[in-house]
């Protein structure tokens, strides 16, 4: 607050974080083990593997897929995934003619229960600024080339709804089990900046 961000001699962020934790702990306002619990949850328990299970199930179970598209929050909860930043999850489905991609231009809103915490690129000003304005060009730079006849829908998460992309099931995966399919599904595909590929 008092320290000027333009000052060159302010203590580094790592030290300021340590200072803040000390001040709050001394006042009994936070407990170290509670903070450890928050961190542990998102390092070890809640991550894109959850979303991959949702996607794989939708690929092999048409009734589940229908429920997922109708009521994302409810269908995701069937697999045990719920929590902060997941009050209302809307699932948008990619097809051969339509590609969906998700952003939060104002901050970093992201469906934590199925994807965990957002990666650096999702929070990058370049992503937040450009994907709403030139999605095809940006996706190409990020390694996803879409055919010219594929339409693009961009979802800006500006309220408390959270968007989750159901990617296209790749060809040649007809014989794979649900578990094997889940292993193919990447975080980036569930945000809409990559396609799911069969392992080489």
């Amino acid at each position: 607050m008092s320290d000027d961000p333009r000052s060159t001699d302010r203590p580094p962020a790592s030290i300021r974080a340590e200072a803040l934790e000390e001040l709050l702990t001394e006042r009994g306002l936070v407990k170290t083990e509670v903070l450890d619990g928050f961190i542990n949850r998102y390092v070890n328990d809640v991550g894109p593997l959850n979303g991959a299970k949702v996607v794989a199930k939708a690929w092999v179970d048409p009734e589940y897929r229908a429920r997922l598209l109708e009521d994302g929050t409810g269908a995701i909860k069937e697999l045990g995934f719920a929590g902060p930043q997941g009050e209302h999850i809307v699932v948008v489905e990619n097809t051969e003619k339509l590609h969906n991609v998700v952003v939060c231009t104002l901050c970093s809103c992201y469906p934590w229960p199925v994807l965990g915490l957002p990666p650096a690129w999702y929070k990058d000003p370049a992503y937040r600024s450009r994907v709403v304005r030139e999605p095809r060009a940006l996706l190409q730079e990020m390694g996803l080339t879409l055919d010219q006849n594929v339409e693009i829908s961009v979802w800006d998460s500006s309220a408390e709804n959270r968007y989750f992309v159901l990617p296209i099931r790749p060809a040649g995966t007809e014989d794979l089990s649900e578990e094997e399919l889940a292993a193919l599904v990447t975080r980036d595909a569930m945000v809409g900046v990559a396609a799911v590929k069969v392992a080489a």
């Binding site: 030290i15 200072a19 970093s108 990020m142 309220a159 900046v193």
Partner: protein, 220 residues
């Protein structure tokens, strides 16, 4: 408010690179700050909307300088100082002491956490009253450049779109961030054609965004 955070459509940011091996937290202080950021809302008696507004109020250099968790750290400190839980300068002086400097820490100030009533946990609410707009209706986003917190980004203001879906009603961040009430209202997903937002030579695409009812008006 207009500010550094409102990035949709702004230019000059370069390209995006994906690091497939990125850990959840790149540095230990990122992890601590993530947890402290979550804890700061309870400790300051505020809420997530106030946290977002604290991010928006940062000096642009502070917003960008130490990256994502740098701004979380600064926002957490802002909320705690605003609430009187920490004195202005408390974090910096403690940090300097940790660095071995002999500085005096400021005395505690009076705690003044905001007082306001919440209608329940989370942000979704069941409200009386029918939605003012219907699916398929053409609507216009307000063009006002208001001060204070809002979730109506600059690139949408004043533009005409079509209601795609009606979502669960929710508390209005413009009010909850300032502790003036919940003002729960209907929320709509509205679609905008890229040419409406960026001009006739825009790259073809469709933009979907969630708008609170009070952000919208009928088109004549």
């Amino acid at each position: 408010m207009d500010g550094i955070h409102d990035m949709g459509g702004t230019q000059g940011w370069g390209t995006v690179t994906i690091d497939p091996a990125e850990p959840v937290f790149e540095e230990d202080w990122h992890a601590r700050t993530f947890a402290l950021g979550l804890a700061s809302m309870g400790a300051s008696g505020t809420n997530l909307d106030a946290f977002r507004h604290a991010l928006e109020r940062l000096h642009p250099l502070e917003y960008l300088g130490d990256g994502y968790y740098g701004r979380w750290l600064a926002a957490a400190e802002t909320l705690l100082v605003d609430s009187g839980v920490l004195a202005p300068g408390a974090v910096e002086s403690r940090a300097r002491r940790l660095l071995g400097e002999d500085v005096v820490e400021p005395a505690d100030v009076e705690v003044r956490k905001p007082s306001y009533e919440r209608g329940g946990a989370g942000s979704l609410r069941v409200i009386e009253g029918k939605p003012a707009f219907t699916v398929g209706q053409q609507v216009k986003a307000h063009g006002v450049r208001k001060s204070g917190h809002t979730r109506l980004p600059a690139y949408i203001r004043g533009h005409v779109g079509v209601v795609e879906a009606i979502r669960p009603a929710a508390v209005l961040p413009d009010s909850t961030a300032h502790f003036t009430g919940e003002d729960a209202q209907h929320v709509y997903t509205v679609r905008f054609d890229s040419t409406e937002l960026w001009g006739s030579d825009a790259e073809p695409s469709t933009l979907f965004i969630d708008l609170f009812e009070s952000y919208m008006e009928e088109t004549s």
